[in-house]
Amino acid sequence: MPETAAETLPIEESPVPSPSAESPEGYQVRLEIFEGPLDLLLFLIRKKKIDIHDIPIAAITRDYLDYLDRKTEINLDREAEFLFIAALLIYIKSQMLLPRETDLAEHEDPRQGLVNRLLEYEKVKAACSLLREREDGQIVQWKRDFIPPLHGENELEPVELSLFDLAESFFLMMKRRSADDTRTIRGRDVSIEVKMKELVGLLQERHMIDFLEYFEAHASLEEALVSFFCILELVKSRVAVAVQDELFQTIRVWLRKDARRTGAHE
């Protein structure tokens, strides 16, 4: 792989910028959609030449909502985040309308939190344009990341270690293994009989099992699945009762009163 920038770091293709977006007028004539709500807010503030430290909230909220209505200029995948900022604007507006006995002190201005965020975001955006210049200057200078031929042997291609690589490696390994487990589920040493006895014993001892907790305590997916089958079986044969309060919540399992005394289910 002969080049660092584009080979070991396969940088994703970005949409080809429209000529207008590259023009010296910058955002003023931008045709691209707004990535996020702060992006849109900054645009509106600049368009109206508003002092960022003294934003007329009512007016800007109206403009902002108009843009949301049009939807063509915003990134629809981000709609919830746009709406969140809309709600925040409305909230700030309501705060400013509340009658106060005294004038608002500087630090009590309900707009302050938003202003701080906008100022920070504005800086990040500005830094981006500088970093983009650097990027453009660098991606045309090709580095080499292979070892040129030496006299004699060449060794294995090495890989650099990062925490992410490490964790990813483990996760993928586990995923691979659980895929193996599901395929060979019958052949393993966790039998339904044994598991059933274990579960009934546990229910007699504790009266109630939180299934999710029980599930998580099991090392393998296979064992957890067998346990799940056992519980279904116990419920079917009316030895146990399983209750799930809500969808996606844990399942709690109780032994029926009559079964509790007689002991193990046969």
């Binding site: 002969p2 080049e3 660092t4 920038a5 584009a6 070991t8 770091l9 396969p10 940088i11 994703e12 293709e13 970005s14 007028e25 910058g26 955002y27 003023q28 691209e32 990535e35 996020g36 709500p37 702060l38 992006d39 600049r46 030449k49 981000r78 985040e81 900022i85 965020r117 920070e120 975001y121 504005e122 800086k123 990040v124 955006k125 500005a126 830094a127 981006c128 344009s129 500088l130 970093l131 983009r132 650097r134 990027e135 453009d136 200057g137 660098q138 991606i139 045309v140 200078q141 090709w142 580095k143 990341d145 070892i147 040129p148 030496l150 650099e160 990062s162 925490l163 992410f164 964790a167």
Partner: protein, 182 residues
């Protein structure tokens, strides 16, 4: 005139897969006075800068590395059969900038700065090895903490994080943008 030491350093910079630092150079050239190494390296780099050659030595990520000159980009890409210039997406770059300036940061801090969920962008940057996980924050939920990587410096041609555009440069850009506006 080329001294043997200068030639040797040229070889070493040439084979190094990562920026060759002065420290590593001294470790390899055990016994050679550090001042001699530095002088030879400086001379070598100056040679490449003035010779008007096709390749040059750049100082990046705290070390030296050979690189082609920008003028040859088109032909290099043709040779390597890479059609287009691969830039980061604007969301990717924005996330990277937020991390670069605020590191160490968590996912939710980055998302708060950008006003949008940044999980996807973080994933992409991790895969490109431009950022790395460096531990956890002592906070509720112990979220993972991110930093920019050495590959990040290399990617942007920076020698260290100190070379990131300064507050002043950023302020200047903002001024310019506002001037265009008015």
């Amino acid at each position: 005139m080329n001294s043997p030491l200068k030639n040797l350093i040229e070889s070493l910079i040439f084979v190094s897969q990562e920026p060759l630092t002065a420290e590593r150079l001294r470790a390899v050239l055990e016994g050679v006075p550090a001042a001699d190494i530095q002088a030879a390296a400086d001379e070598l780099i100056a040679d490449y800068a003035t010779d008007g050659r096709g390749i040059h030595i750049v100082r990046v990520g705290g070390g030296w590395l050979f690189s082609t000159k920008p003028a040859h980009d088109r032909e290099v890409r043709r040779l390597l059969q890479i059609e287009r210039k691969n830039r980061l997406s604007s969301a990717g770059l924005e996330t990277l900038a937020a991390i670069a300036y605020r590191q160490p940061v968590t996912q939710s801090e980055v998302s708060a700065i950008r006003g949008v969920d940044s999980t996807g962008a973080l994933k992409t940057l991790l895969e490109k090895k431009l950022i790395k996980i460096v531990g956890r924050k002592k906070a509720p939920g112990s979220p993972l903490v991110y930093r920019t990587s050495d590959a990040f410096l290399l990617y942007l041609g920076l020698n260290s994080l100190d070379e990131l555009p300064s507050e002043e440069e950023i302020a200047k850009i903002l001024e310019e943008e506002k001037a265009v506006d008015a």
